[in-house]
Amino acid sequence: MKVIIGLEIHCQLNTDTKLFCGCSTDYRDDPPNTHVCPVCLALPGALPRLNTKAVEYALRVAKALNLEVAEECEFSRKNYFYPDLPKGYQITQYDRPLAERGVVEIEADDGTPKEVRITRIHLEEDPGRLVHRSGRDRAGYSLVDYNRSGIPLIEIVTEPDLRSPKEARRFLNKLRNTLEYLEVFDGEREGAIRVDANISLVGHNRVECKNISSYKGVEKALTFEITRQKNQIARGHEITRETRHFNEGRGITMSSRSKEEETDYRYFPEPDLRPLRVRDWLDDITLPELPDARKARFVAQYGISHNHARTLTGDMKLANFYEKVAGDDPVLAATWVADTLLGELNYRDMKIDRVPPAHFADLLALVRVDAITDRSGVDALRTMLDEGAAGEEMELPSAVVDRFGLRKAAGDEFDEVAAQVVEAHPDAVADYHNGKGGALNFLVGQAMRETRGRADARDLGRRIKELLENKEA
């Protein structure tokens, strides 16, 4: 059964101030209601004043996603009552949005390129934040924090072009990545992204899932919803056209209290703001290198694989990090960053910006000149990251290597160990000469244990084999 998905994505623009007032958007560690003023608290007589940076950021996004910017656009009031909305209306854009008709290319489930059409992009303000506290005495109340009230958002609406939860996830990753490259968005901020998803099975009613607040959540909510709708149909029930809420903790969607009829928001043009004529600003916007272009350059310039290039450019900070450590051996660097470092970071729930590029370059240099084995390299990396995770200053890998004596055994020491092992295991030596294949491996294993991983198994194997052959002769 064909699945049809369209998304509405609300992204926070990372301006310093709110959309219509000078309150700081950086309220992260501050108590509730400490970043509010007459405008974002809707005191009588206060008037909105539009943040020019927010408009410029929205235009950057419009340009990057290939949208047509309107010659003139305007703000509208969306009227409804809710405690997080102090004015009784939200200032948004309705019938005259900033930009329309764009396109984003992603990879379809079968790996082929696929275009997702963007319907529109518009600017709007975020409402405040509601906190529901449990406890008997508090059961009848919500707590309201207006620090978020007036935070600038762009809403990006797609056409119903997505065909699976995985495609939706890939689209969102691409979008997030692009917005970060444009430096208008910080995906790590709390509440940075919120998604409403429209989903239906061909020939049946459409359901809207509201308020999904994480990338993983989107895939989960959609997967749940497809299964639910398929089950309904299999049991002979028709799908109710409705709005459902996604419960992130339980991973399910739930029907919202009956708001069956379309709510009448009585949109009308915002009389306190003048229209915008900003299309010609596009001429002054120079887009940075975007993810697809950077990926292609990585392959061409550094000679690394498509897979590595995709992983490395899939996150702007990671790509920046890679370019700092690529150095003389970009292929080696790509392997170590994409295949080793990422896994070690995930394991410790650490971000790439916690790793000093100079430290990592130091590690790569050791591996590159063959001063340590790969295994010792991983050990040194882990030691360094563990120190970082514990909040300590990270040690240079070369210092770790020296402290633990991880440098590759020199030729003399090799020979000595190889000779000792051969001496100590005459049975294995005899087995070897009798053609038992496992004997050499056993001896190499013993020698590896002696050198505690500081030697290459291959080098030791060669040395021991020489000794054994000589012994016979």
Binding site: D16, C23, P38, Y141, P275, L276
Partner: protein, 89 residues
């Protein structure tokens, strides 16, 4: 022309409770107000308004917010520095 049913639904959307017997009076008033707009539409000078007045902006510069005591001064009920409101959802 606005009907009594429309007045009733507008009152509901505006969260204003009006009595059944008041509906007639409000409907008359609504229609009278809307008639003024018909008058305004006939005034020639009204035209398109100030079409040249567009792009009014503010720079992205942080200005001080209100002290939290002032923010909470008009709140009927508070907890910590939250404003306490009716339970929703």
């Amino acid at each position: 022309m606005i009907s009594e049913r429309e007045v009733e639904s507008i009152a509901k959307l505006a969260d204003i409770r009006i009595q059944k017997e008041e509906l007639g009076e409000f409907t008359v008033q609504f229609n009278a107000i809307l008639e003024y707009f018909d008058v305004l539409d006939r005034v020639e000078a009204a035209g398109e308004g100030r079409a040249d007045l567009v792009n009014v902006f503010r720079e992205d510069e942080v200005r001080p917010s209100l002290p939290v005591e002032d923010v909470l001064a008009n709140a009927g009920s508070t907890e910590e520095t939250f404003i306490k409101g009716p339970r929703v959802m």
